[in-house]
Amino acid sequence: MEIPYTVKPRPDTGLANPKLGIWLFLASEVMLFGGLFAGYIFMRLSAEPWMWPRGWLNVPVGTFNTFILIASSVTIILAWESLKMHQYKAYKMWLTVTWICGLAFLGVKLGYEWPDKFGHFGAYIKGDALHKYEAFLGNEDPKDAKGNPILNAEGKPEQGRVSRNLPERHFISGHLHEIAGQKPSALALATVPYIPAKRLDDMIGTVWSLDDSIEEDEKQLAKPPEPLKPGLSDPERYAAEHVRVALKQKLAAEHATKEGRRAHLAEFGMTEQDLAVLLKRPADPRKPTPAELEEQKKAREAFLEKINVIRVHLVDPENANPYDPDNDKAHFWPRDKVDVATMKDRPHVEEETGADGKKEYLLVLHKSDLLDHHGAFTPKLNTYLATYFMITGLHGLHVLGGCIVFIYFWLPIKGGSKLYKTDHAQLCNRIEVAGLFWHLVDLIWIFVFPLFYLL
């Protein structure tokens, strides 16, 4: 069946059906993105200026992508004009350039911009723990390792946010390195953070060396599983079941030997001696002395402190500036106010030697009670990233859709470039309609770019 009015205008509307259809679709698209933009602007303006992230996106890269899309809008017009003028080679060439531009745009987004965000890490520090990370937050006047004020280029002491009468900053960022506390637990040790304190007390004193720990684990597994006591709360039931699963896991190949367990302890920054202190058996396990109980408690707290941390590469020591009143602009602005060499002497900083032999500094964030929330630069971290990924993702899908349509018209198939010989007017119409969609994609980006990258 032949679809009517695909090329010739309908007498009542004065337009060919595809033309009217695409304009109605574009109108609905404008409403969709208009609502999203309006919502974003509303949130942006409602937030205090210093609270909203600025400088997180790469402006030169965003500008490059804007130029690419504008250029592709011009080339699709050139393709359409060439087609109308029966210049087939020119038409094919400009159409090719158009979809290559589209794919290049997506390549930049998916190959660089989005993955770059996934490699970053951010954490919101609780108000009562700000002082612990002060060196990286820039609220107080900066001091070097010896406690002397850091001088600026004019020889005057550098001022932090409070001295400048700027609000305190609670956010800290860097390159994601490791989240120790979130590793799957292979040793029963790694299950400690999940076990209620009472249960931990039960464990202490049951094993006291690595050899004993293996023997103890095998004994435990050899027993038939005990039925769970009635009346357990959900966390207690979970912990009881979890311990047994962890026991099975830790007897798997890499943890069934003393060396394997020693290596695993090292991952948590512990030695065998630390373990011995942690799990030291009281002289009389039935009647531990107050001193022994105190020693156990301290050892346990020290252990939990060690295990329950996030290690991130120090706050972009090369690029970020924690004293910037707007934000740290991870990547693009040189940090010249802080003496990186003194970083290793600061609290909460660990020095490591990387695979290439270079020294790396890691910031240790104690997530147990000091962090509000934390994560990679993904939608869950904050509202800005949530809207950024949602809107650029939706726009990216439109770009992908446009590219697929253009490639379809470009291919030597019946509905594609073969149409040039069989129904030239139809092909012109198709390119026109697809071109209108492509211009809308460009038009949306014209709003996305300033809103997210610049403002």
Partner: protein
């Protein structure tokens, strides 16, 4: 492209010309206005980037000017950025999408779209004021 397409296509029937015979003249000559608009859009993009480094709220003349319409602080930069983006969008629509020669059948739904989207965008003014004063209850 517009209404012109259908009529233009009738003039350019492939059967009449043959697929392999191109029309005389360069496509660039026909597309000159589009190329000029493209260059303007490039320039406007560079201007947008440049203006983003300029803090309008630092200057009292801009503060006073925009305060008249209830826009302050970072809102000034956002409004200027949006106005510039709107100009670019108008160029794309008017030239690239050929709205300048489009029929009323197309303009009519677009008018409603424009009306509602403008309303949505103006919602941001609510970020600067509480339009419902009765929501505060100082005395209970």
């Amino acid at each position: 492209m517009s209404e012109q397409t259908a009529t233009a296509e009738h003039k350019h029937e492939p059967e009449a010309h043959g697929a392999g015979h191109g029309h005389e003249g360069s496509v660039f000559a026909h597309a000159r206005p589009y190329l000029i608009v493209g260059v303007i859009l490039f320039g406007a993009t560079a201007l947008t980037v440049g203006l983003s480094y300029f803090d309008f709220a630092e200057y009292s003349i801009f503060r006073r000017m925009f305060a008249v319409i209830g826009v302050h602080d970072v809102g000034i930069n956002i409004l200027v950025g949006l106005m510039l983006a709107t100009c670019k969008v108008c160029l794309v629509g008017w030239w690239f999408m050929h709205l300048k020669q489009e029929k009323r059948t197309v303009w009519r739904p677009l008018f409603f779209t424009f009306f509602f989207v403008s309303g949505l965008f103006l919602l941001f003014l609510l970020a600067f004021s509480d339009p419902i004063p009765t929501t505060s209850h100082p005395i209970h």
